[in-house]
């Protein structure tokens, strides 16, 4: 259980550092549409990761206690991503579409790097 909590903390920390870098890039550089897109995608990605972590935790607790649980939030995550892509396509002058996609994929990159660095090492 402790290992899961440590992994959650690490992932949140990496995403937080990444968000700070993106915010600094948005404010300090002139590539506004690219960094706006990265920021939008990264915020949605962070929320998705948080939701997944909470739901997996609740699923584990429910199984141990013999209770029922309501899925792992896949529909909410997909809906959010579709909504984000719709916003990016509608306001194309503010958000670079491919930057939004790169931002959405941040969560997967963080999870994979964390798994490669810490899970395979053990």
């Amino acid at each position: 259980m402790q290992e899961y909590q440590q992994m959650i903390t690490r992932q949140k920390r990496w995403l937080f550092y990444y968000l700070i870098i993106v915010v600094v890039g948005t404010v300090a550089t002139s590539f506004h549409s690219i960094f706006n897109g990265l920021l939008l995608g990264s915020v949605v990605s962070s929320f998705n990761l948080w939701l997944l972590q909470c739901r997996v935790q609740k699923l584990g607790e429910a199984v141990v206690k013999g209770k029922k649980t309501m899925g792992i939030g896949t529909i909410v995550r997909f809906t959010l991503i579709v909504l984000t892509l719709f916003i990016a396509e509608t306001f194309a002058q503010y958000f670079h579409f491919f930057a939004v996609i790169a931002g959405i994929m941040t969560m997967y990159v963080v999870i994979m790097i964390d798994a490669l660095l810490f899970q395979l090492k053990d």
């Binding site: 259980m1 402790q2 290992e3 899961y4 909590q5 992994m7 990761l49 997944l52 972590q53 997996v56 935790q57 699923l59 584990g60 199984v63 141990v64 792992i72 896949t74 995550r77 997909f78 991503i81 579709v82 892509l85 719709f86 396509e89 996609i101 959405i104 994929m105 969560m107 997967y108 999870i111 994979m112 798994a115 899970q119």
Partner: protein, 68 residues
């Protein structure tokens, strides 16, 4: 025609991902139910596995948006 292509791309990707996710969740739930002390490692593996499966339909949604 492009809308049909987008719908097919998203629906097949979602079908595959739902099957994959269900397998991961099923195995994890069975494992935790058998050995509750292994809950931490099993949840960790589940948290790594589910995003890997979910990345495919998300990329399919992106492709669908680009087709439309």
């Amino acid at each position: 025609m492009s809308a049909l292509a987008a719908a097919i791309a998203v629906s097949f990707a979602a079908l595959g991902a739902s099957y994959g996710s269900s397998l991961i969740v099923k195995t994890t739930v069975e494992g935790i139910a058998r050995q509750p002390e292994l809950r931490g490692p099993l949840q960790t593996v589940m948290l790594i596995g589910i995003p890997l499966v979910e990345a495919v339909p998300i990329l399919a949604v992106v492709v669908a948006f680009m087709i439309l």
